[in-house]
């Protein structure tokens, strides 16, 4: 079992309200990603689930049981911290074993569990080293080892990959997804990186200033964002927003079109523009276009697109893929 329910969970530090009230149902075995800009309260919410932060009000049910005031270790959850938070003066072995030792297990019970975790994570040859003698990626794996060895019903990750370099980050992302498959445990994963969110999540929870803006599968959020905030946050490069007359024609305050939903057409398109910059990624080219009334747009073109800065082009947005937002920045459907 590994269900987590948040009911009107609220958090204030003194006067400042960080989480005004969050409701969320996490099912057993789900991979949930909290995503949002830095400072929006993702860590705070995760730490409340962990029991490291008190609730101002509301309740948290884990496996159906009210755990709002339960001690962190009694919730059956493990956490992987952004800075890894390994114990620097303990060996890798003792780092991984510490939780079991605190739970009162005997050395005979502990040894095989540590050995198994170390094997899963390719840490066997480093067991007698101290964290200071390991690379960033190895430390990350020790932190994960420390989490899995207790066989928790749920894992909490707080931006676990943000201290790794780009190549390692991709590897670890796949490793964590594989781990999720193998263990079948519930995982709650915090990140500010929408690519991580899109690639890993079963469901994404988008947070904005402590409010849950939308919960849904990656494609739901991509195709049907509830608000301009979600629309702008999910997808890369960012969605183009156009206001004014053009939006008014669609009976909206703002319309949004993703770079991949604008076609470059020969002849007269809907918008005329001049290429300002091109970014060539090989598979795709991203054009930054000054499109007159429509403002500055980013447009996706094929990798072999030959246009140069200064060229004039015609653009045609995919009418079915235009998102409309009202004065409150909410989607009009």
């Amino acid at each position: 079992m590994g269900t987590i329910q948040l009911k009107k969970v609220r958090k204030a530090f003194g006067e400042s309200i960080i989480i005004p009230g969050a409701d969320l149902d996490i099912k057993h075995g789900e991979f949930i990603v909290f995503v949002g800009p830095s400072g929006c309260g993702k860590s705070t919410l995760l730490r409340m689930i962990a029991g490291l932060e008190d609730l101002t009000s509301g309740e948290i049910l884990i496996d159906g049981k009210d755990c709002s005031d339960a001690a962190p270790a009694s919730r059956g959850l493990s956490m992987v911290f952004q800075s890894y938070a390994l114990y620097p003066h303990m060996t890798v072995r003792n780092n991984i074993a510490f939780g079991l030792k605190m739970a009162g297990e005997t050395p005979e019970q502990i040894a095989p569990k540590v050995a198994k975790a170390a094997e899963t994570l390719n840490l066997t040859e480093y067991l007698d080293r101290k964290p200071g003698q390991l690379s960033g990626g190895q430390r990350q794996r020790v932190a994960i080892g420390r989490a899995i060895v207790r066989n928790p019903s749920g894992f909490l990750f707080d931006e676990p990959l943000s201290n790794l370099d780009a190549a390692l980050r991709v590897n670890m992302r796949i490793f964590i997804m594989q781990l999720h498959k193998d263990l079948g445990a519930t995982m709650v994963y915090v990140t500010h990186d929408q690519v991580e969110a899109m690639t890993m999540a079963d469901r994404i929870v988008v947070l904005n200033r402590g409010n849950i803006e939308q919960v849904g599968s990656p494609l739901e959020l991509y195709n049907k964002p509830n608000s301009k905030f979600v629309a702008g946050f999910i997808g890369s490069p960012k969605m183009n927003f156009v206001e004014g007359n053009i939006a008014a024609k669609h009976k909206a305050k703002t319309i949004g079109v993703r770079p991949e939903h604008i076609d470059i057409v020969s002849g007269k398109g809907e918008w005329q523009g001049k290429i300002l910059l091109t970014e060539h990624l090989g598979s795709d080219s991203f054009l930054h276009v000054d499109a007159g009334d429509a403002g500055r747009l980013v447009v996706r073109a094929p990798g072999e697109f030959a246009g140069k800065p200064g060229d004039n082009i015609s653009l045609k947005p995919d009418a079915a893929r235009i998102h409309k937002f009202d004065a409150q920045d909410l989607s009009i459907r």
């Binding site: 029991g51 962190p72 956490m79 938070a85 303990m90 939780g99 605190m102 420390r146």
Partner: protein
């Protein structure tokens, strides 16, 4: 890595201070070594002559030597134990958030700024005095008719109390600074691992403090071997004198410059031996 040229510049830039520093350290030491091998008594200053190792022999066979040697060890050892134990406790307490923490921290450090002679006088006349002292007053308040004569009956313990009071702030300050550098996520990780407060202290805090504790022990050893004002001011030198005091009395009471110099050399050698072993023992026990 620096280039050859920048290293050469570094060397030249360091040279003046190195010369001054070595002269500073070397001249007094050289003079002391020189005197240690001379028969040189101030009652007979004209009659100085080469004395070989006799000064060392007389100093070591002085009936006070063994006693003062043991006193030195006891004084240094127990003060270190008390200041470290107290310092760790206070550092953990003062690291907690509470109202007025800033002021309390400031007050904590203040004993360290009081001159040893002054604080010894205060302890002698206002706190531990058998008639006018605070301790005696407290004892009388609880009905005792014969308050403890601290310096008369427990001279060494009295000195240890005074010196501990002086050095506790130092230990606390260093350890508190170290406490503040303990990563908050360590505490969270320990909470997730289910470590109760005592285990958190034993397995996380104490190892984190091991290095600063070694530093405190080293620095205190160096300074506590030289304790003098507290013994002199409280006039307990005859019972609770240490090696520094013995050197002083060779010079002051016996006017024997040679023996005093020999005592000084012996003290320096002992201090080095003591600190060498201390660092090893402490390093081994706390690092692991």
């Amino acid at each position: 890595m620096a280039t050859n040229q920048s290293r050469a510049i570094g060397k030249w830039a360091l040279a003046p201070s190195l010369i001054v520093l070595s002269a500073w350290a070397f001249v007094p030491l050289a003079l002391t070594i020189y005197f240690a091998f001379l028969r040189y008594n101030l009652q007979d200053p004209d009659n100085t002559s080469w004395f070989g190792l006799s000064n060392f022999y007389y100093f070591l066979s002085d009936p006070y030597f063994t006693k003062d040697f043991i006193n030195t060890i006891l004084l240094v050892g127990s003060t270190i134990i008390f200041t470290i134990a107290g310092g760790v406790g206070l550092a953990v307490l003062l690291d907690q958030p509470f109202w007025g923490r800033g002021i309390v921290r400031l007050l904590m450090i203040s004993p360290f700024f009081i001159m040893p002679t002054v604080s010894s006088l205060v302890w002698k006349n206002l706190i531990m005095h058998p008639v006018f002292g605070l301790f005696a007053g407290i004892q009388r308040f609880f009905g005792s008719t014969e308050p403890i004569d601290w310096f008369g009956h427990y001279p060494l313990i009295s000195v240890i109390i005074i010196v501990t009071w002086q050095w506790l702030p130092y230990a606390t300050l260093i350890l508190l600074t170290a406490m503040q550098s303990l990563d908050g996520e360590q505490k969270d990780a320990a909470a997730m691992d289910g470590a109760p407060p005592l285990s958190y202290f034993r397995y996380i805090v104490l190892p984190h403090l091991s290095r600063p504790i070694t530093v405190v022990i080293l620095i205190e050893t160096i300074f506590l071997l030289n304790i003098f004002a507290e013994i002199k001011v409280t006039s307990v030198g005859g019972f609770a004198g240490n090696l520094t005091y013995l050197v002083f009395s060779q010079l002051n009471d016996a006017n024997d410059v040679g023996a005093a110099a020999a005592g000084g050399i012996i003290a320096v050698i002992l201090a080095n031996i003591v600190s060498y072993f201390l660092v090893r023992i402490v390093g081994k026990n706390l690092e692991g």
